[in-house]
Amino acid sequence: MNWPSLEAFLYMGGHGLYVWGSYVLTIGLLAAEAWFVLRRQRRAQQEGAR
């Protein structure tokens, strides 16, 4: 385990903004894309069933 406390984990040696900024942005963008694609697929299935 690398981190003595939660504060140290979030602080990332003074680089927390860059590290967490990268991860939050990446996970957010990928989750948003997956959500939009699944919504588009569901809508296409619903319209196809009509």
Binding site: M12, Y18, L25, V37, R40, A44, G48
Partner: protein, 252 residues
């Protein structure tokens, strides 16, 4: 063309290997692809989530602090897989676009269209995470060096492909115009990859070489491979889901 020995059967079908090839070409038909991809999707999402979760655990809790860059190096676990995917997805897009153009194969053109948004997203992620990594490491958010500029051109190529294929109403013409752009743009991929060797860039050299042992600690390398596996599975899942939607939309 009929086979004389087996009337009613085409001579192409009687060639060695044609039966195996036939099995594969059946999946080029939209209905077959739709059913097959639907069966694979839950597994692909599960692999993406599981390998991503284990990769993040290795990246943050097992891989040690880097001796030179401190904790900021942990951005590598998303930046490098995203950059790899941005280039690979473009090559696959260009392949399917060319296949659809040459053979007039509808499903191939649909694959190319389904790949483009995901490739653009990975390129954007590579550029932004690279910028966020560059600030603490190089002291600047952005430099117009060969690697970063050629990666930025890749983003413009993706956006150009999407805009071009969406702007033309007739699907066949849209696919052909997109294929031409995708093929011309493919020349940018070796430029991105070799830019750090051909020019003197601020960007570091290749993280992993096929001909040499990894220069990083084994736990760092494991985290990188797990995150790469997650991005691969995610790409397959999201592209298959988008291609299924395109199949249904074009059937209307």
């Amino acid at each position: 063309m009929q086979d004389r020995a087996h009337p009613g059967r085409s001579t192409l079908a009687s060639l060695p290997g044609a039966e195996a090839a036939g099995r594969w070409t059946r999946f080029a038909s939209p209905p077959r692809f739709y059913a097959l991809a639907g069966a694979w999707l839950p597994w692909l999402w599960a692999i993406a989530l599981a390998s991503g979760a284990i990769g993040l655990y290795f990246g943050f809790f097992v891989a040690p602090t880097d001796a030179q860059q401190g904790e900021s190096y942990r951005i590598i676990f998303i930046h490098v897989p995203a950059a790899w995917m941005s280039m690979l997805v473009y090559l696959v897009l260009a392949f399917w676009a060319a296949w659809g153009w040459i053979l007039n194969a509808r499903m191939a053109s649909m694959y190319a269209r389904a790949l483009a948004p995901t490739g653009a997203l990975f390129t954007l992620i590579a550029l932004v995470t690279g910028s966020l990594w560059g600030r603490p490491t190089w002291g600047t958010w952005w430099v117009w060096d060969a690697r970063i500029t050629s990666e930025f051109i890749l983003l413009l190529l993706y956006l150009g492909y999407i805009a071009l294929t969406e702007a033309i109403d007739e699907p066949r013409r849209a696919a052909n115009a997109g294929a031409l752009l995708a093929l011309v743009g493919a020349i940018n991929i070796p430029i991105i990859y070799f830019s750090v060797q051909w020019w003197n860039t601020l960007h570091q050299g290749a993280t992993i070489s096929a001909t040499a042992a990894p220069k990083m600690a084994a736990t760092m390398f494991t985290a990188l491979l797990l995150m790469t596996a997650s991005f691969w599975a995610y790409t397959f899942a999201v592209v298959f889901a988008r291609a299924r939607a395109i199949v249904l939309e074009e059937r209307r």
